[in-house]
């Protein structure tokens, strides 16, 4: 089974299109969208339709903090002004059906030995980040699953835990197959499709082959200028477009 993971798309049509078309080369059996479908970018409606379409055909999809914020009656205090502005803007640009699709997304999906979640395993709805070994340990301790897939941080990372309980961090190299050795537990932090923040502006998505036990992070270039132009044209903060070119 080959699953393609997309997290933190953030309404970036150009980035998602580039990743989906890249993934077509790999004979994907299933798609997984791990939260933050919208926010920041100018194409929330298009992204939601694509994800909903995949979801109806069996794709995994979980809720992200930006997705949740669209349905919240009061502003979320943990969000930056720009993020909140983008959430409010998004609310006015999507249909009721699109909103309802998002509202119904679960915080987590669990199957056999894998957990899918947007932020972390210990409190999925509190939206805390896995930024280091400390949080990675906390997350791994909160689930019995051998594999945890999450997003939220916008920095790709991979943690593993052996029998001696140590958690080892690793920064994945794009395009290199990483064997997820079965005797270990793994926490896969996906990079962001629509707003990478690791100084590499290319969109990030990840492939997991459960038969070969192989994980691969990909970086896919997309038309950053077009995405930024649309953000400006939509009246969203300029910085949300400018940061895409810098990958921050």
């Amino acid at each position: 089974m080959r699953t393609a993971f997309f997290a933190d798309i953030h309404a970036n049509r150009e980035a998602l299109e580039a990743c989906l078309s890249h993934a077509e080369l790999y004979d994907i059996n299933r798609y997984a969208f791990l939260g933050d479908l919208i926010g920041y970018g100018a194409d929330p409606g298009w992204v939601l339709d694509v994800v909903r379409d995949h979801h109806e055909r069996g794709a995994i999809a979980v809720l992200g903090n930006h997705d949740e914020a669209v349905s919240l009656p009061i502003p979320n205090k943990t969000m930056s002004n720009e993020a909140q502005y983008a959430v409010d803007w998004t609310r006015s640009r999507i249909t009721t059906a699109q909103t309802q699709f998002m509202e119904k997304l679960p915080l987590t999906v669990e199957e056999s030995d894998s957990l899918y979640v947007h932020a972390n395993a210990w409190a999925p709805g509190d939206w805390e980040y896995v930024v280091s070994v400390t949080e990675a340990k906390q997350s791994l301790a909160a689930t019995l699953c051998r594999l945890t897939f999450c997003g939220h941080l916008h920095h790709p990372a991979l943690y593993n835990q052996g029998i001696a309980d140590h958690v080892v961090p690793f920064t994945p190299v794009p395009g290199v197959d990483i064997p997820l050795v079965p005797n270990r537990r793994w926490l896969v932090v996906l990079g962001s499709v629509g707003q990478p923040r690791d100084r590499n502006p290319a969109a990030c998505y990840t492939l997991y082959d459960s038969v070969r036990n192989m994980l691969t992070y990909f970086r896919v270039p997309f038309d950053v200028e077009a995405a930024a132009r649309k953000i400006r044209a939509a009246g969203l903060p300029d910085w949300l477009g400018a940061r895409l070119a810098m990958g921050v």
Partner: protein
Amino acid sequence: MAAEYLAPGSALGGFKIEKLVYTGGMSTIWSVTREDMTIPLVMKVPRCKNGDDPSSVVGFEVELMILPKLTGRHVPRFIKAADFPHQPFIVMEDIPGGSLDEQRTEAPLPPDAVATIGAQVALALHDLHRQYVLHLDVTPANILFRKSGEAVLIDFGLSRHDQLPDLMAEEYQLPMGTAAYISPEQVLRVRSDPRSDLFSLGVILYQLTTGELPFGDPRGMAGLAMRLYHEPSPPRALNKECPPWLQEIILRCLEVDPEQRYGSAAQLAFALQNPDQVALTSRADRVKRADLWTGFKRWLKYQKSGPIAAGSVARHLDTVPIIMAAVDIQPGMEALSDTLRQAVQRIFKTEQNARLTCVTVRKTPLVGLDLGVDSKGRNLHIQSLVSLKHWARALEIPEDRISFHVLEAPDPAAALVAYAKSNQVEHIVIGARSSSTLRRFLGSVSSQVVAQAPCSVTVVRVPHADDIMRSDATGYAGHG
């Protein structure tokens, strides 16, 4: 999960168990067969009881991650593996030639034999490093030889792949390696420098040359740390047959600071293959180990040294290439050879640690006798060498990073390509004469080199030069 039920005649993972080859602390090795496989195979089975032996389990996991990714003649071919929670095993090609451990017992070996073995191991290490892997446990027992003489590295249980998570990194508080051969930086738990493998190879070369281990076979952390400040006796003090160039090479490998060792395994192989090109320093003259005061200063430095910055194999190798300048030193080619020198100079400005090998070809007749002297009886080989050194003088590259070779061959392009292959050259810089109809028709040396070289080739031309209509029959430049 114990493998006690394995016995000759039993089967595992589609393989028939033939016989027990080896029993070690971490694993057992069985010779196995499978109907569709014609090459000899071995199966490595980790020894672990219900997963309570972390070192053998992690070592097995590391090997399982790395071995399937490796290719080439210097590693055993990976066939199949199974992992926990089933009975884990790895099946790989058997290398029947025996290990260096057997030759080690015959030490001291003659210098030429040491250099030949050392060069083969260094070439194998370079091939491994190029695939982003540090071995980190280079010992005689982990070096096998094919019948063709090529070295094969085995046992990747302590290795590190630059592009994969390092499962060993956080697992243990003690340095991981074999006490007699471990590098100083591994003692300090740094696992990211390819030159660590050169240190271990240096220990092996020392042992093959003298019959002794430079730092003994210590037990415990204090014993291991001795190599950070305690200099070994110079090989020539133990074996008078050891020539200065071999002592120079061995002691350079055994430098405490990786920066002072060879930049890459390819550079070490180059030195071992070209003893006459080894630039001798004070290392070659040493007759006894450093005095107590020097040892004390080193010890102080060790006490003060913090953790060494972690590097990357790939990034490191990129900075230490062997670059080859193919120079046409014939009269009349001055403009082209000047342009070539400028190109080499530009490359060396960014490649601070690169090594330059200057090569020229003296074309010998395909048929008939080559007297090797000109009409005045002067030795043509020496004349070529003098001209080549003169060409390189303006580059001002230190003596220990430059060498000169005059090849004599009827086919200059083939000779240049063969040289590049056997010396692990990563970049050839060659001049091309301006285009002419004749050359286009006959083909040129530089275009042949571009087509057949095992590495990158930069073709240099004199900008806007007049088309010099010379015969191309004797030179090896041409349109690239």
